[in-house]
């Protein structure tokens, strides 16, 4: 095994800032759970029930928008201060990062 090439795994979990661009990776997807009348995020061996804020964030997460841009879009839609929203958005993606359910660039 020692002769395997280093595939470049980062040594530490990535810090999330306003410039970070989040995307749901392959194998992580939003699902309409009709039987229980709710929306869930499906991932390897995990099911997370999403609340309305989480759904709103994921609706504007397209792999192109940064955390700041996502927050601005939501601030406008909900008429709330962008800094408050951004703290929530960062918290949301940190929780997903620790579960290996988001890709960050």
């Amino acid at each position: 095994m020692n002769d395997r090439p280093d595939i470049g795994v980062e040594p530490l979990a990535q810090t999330i800032t306003g410039h970070t661009v989040p995307a749901l990776p392959r194998g992580v997807r939003v699902h309409d759970d009709k039987v229980r009348a709710r929306t869930v995020l499906l991932a390897p061996e995990r099911t997370l029930a999403l609340d309305e804020t989480s759904i709103a964030i994921l609706n504007v997460t397209d792999g192109a928008r940064s955390v700041r841009q996502i927050s601005e879009a939501l601030a406008e839609a909900y008429a709330a201060p962008v800094d408050v929203i951004e703290a929530d958005v960062i918290g949301f993606f940190e929780a997903l990062r620790d579960k290996r359910m988001v890709e960050l660039t």
Binding site: M1, I7, Q14, V35, P44, R100
Partner: protein, 375 residues
């Protein structure tokens, strides 16, 4: 908002109103090129002539989705032994299910993996029996398997699919847990499942060969704890500790008939993969009954739902909604009564005896394994 992100805990349901199941383990076949001595398949393996047909599985997958199942785990045996696996994957995705392939990797080619990915496979869970060819091939009873598995891991990553490494731990490989964690990171796995062997099926036959020492079990728990911290955001580690050395039992299946169900290759519906060891239970088959009815009304599923069936000390115990009295199959095997307190528990009258048995099994000299399906 972050509360919503806590892994879902299904509320305890009374026997009268069980919640719909979340996960289906679809044991497509008992055929497998490997021969792991801890395989969870029953000792009496079912022949391929008795397996459900493609049409029957497709119907069952639809019934499962309608019932509320979200995840289907294609397992076996080796599910790749079914030539209709891509077809079943597509059917599961069309029904709205999240699809997981639990595989040894043997029998996979890059071309077939691509076909499975195109059919909608969401996730691949690859078993590794060791961290080098000598150990891995000895445990699996299959020469050349290890190299093959490493290639499969590369293909999965190249395909962009999430990879979980599945490592069953026992006396022979537990001291290499650090290496297994490093290897998983190097292979690009997002998740590692470290499961200490559970003594059902073939593992029970190999108990004296597989039983870890209490020291190994403790060290493994410490290593997992440290690695979880160090690798936060890089590798998620799910861990099943060695319960023979524990004070309290595992919450087996997160409760009988509460979150998941198994369907065996012949269509028999089981509350857990070892449930057939409880001889008096009667199981329904998807060939003759709807899955919905089996889940809600089936005798086997209702046998240990809720808490009414519990004896003392479980009945009045404050942990009964945490561990559900432990594992029914273990109670059957060790106490001779499936409704007894799991003998792993300190409150069981059999706890002391079990600790002695585990300690002496752990110090038996190493001899040959009884390989699955070859004895």
């Amino acid at each position: 908002m972050t509360e919503a992100l806590e892994a879902e805990r299904v509320k305890p349901s009374s026997a009268a109103t069980p919640a719909p199941p979340i996960a289906l383990l679809a044991e497509l076949t008992h055929r497998c090129p490997l021969a792991c001595p801890y395989c969870s398949n029953p000792v009496a393996l079912k022949p391929s002539s008795e397996e459900l047909t493609t049409e029957q599985w497709v119907r069952v997958l639809r019934e499962a989705a309608a019932l509320g199942v979200l995840h289907v785990h294609f397992s076996g045996g080796e599910p790749l032994a079914r030539s209709d696996l891509a077809e079943l994957t597509a059917a599961a995705r069309n029904a709205g299910l999240y699809t997981n392939l639990i595989t040894s990797g043997i029998g996979l080619t890059q071309k077939r993996l691509k076909a499975l990915a195109e059919a909608g496979m969401d996730h691949v869970q690859l078993s590794l029996q060791g961290t080098d060819a000598a150990m891995a091939d000895l445990v699996a009873g299959y020469k050349g398997g290890y190299e093959r598995k490493l290639a499969v891991a590369d293909w999965v990553r190249a395909e962009g699919l999430p990879l979980t490494v599945n490592a069953v731990c026992h006396r022979h490989n537990m001291d290499r847990l650090e290496e297994m964690i490093d290897l998983s990171v190097r292979l690009g796995a997002r998740r590692l499942e470290v499961a200490t062997v559970q003594f059902h099926g073939w593992a029970e036959r190999n108990r004296t060969q597989l039983m870890p020492t209490p020291e190994q079990a403790q060290t493994a728990t410490r290593i997992v704890g440290e690695a979880r911290e160090r690798l936060r955001g890089i590798l998620v580690i799910d861990y099943v500790p060695a319960d023979y050395h524990a004070r309290y039992p595992k919450p087996c299946m997160e409760g009988w008939g509460r979150v998941g169900l198994n369907i065996d290759p012949t269509g028999k519906v089981l509350p857990c993969h070892a449930a057939e060891t409880i001889g008096w239970l009667e199981f329904d088959n998807v060939r003759s009954r709807l899955l919905d009815e089996i889940w809600y009304d089936g005798a086997a599923f209702n046998a240990f739902r809720g808490t009414d069936w519990m004896q003392e000390p479980c009945q009045s115990c404050e942990r009964r909604d945490i561990d559900f009295g432990g594992c029914r199959c273990q109670a059957m095997a060790l106490a001779g009564d499936a409704a007894a307190t799991d003998p792993v528990c300190v409150k069981s009258p059999l706890h002391g005896e079990l600790q002695t048995l585990a300690a002496s099994a752990a110090h038996e000299p190493d001899t040959e394994f009884v390989y699955r399906g070859r004895a």
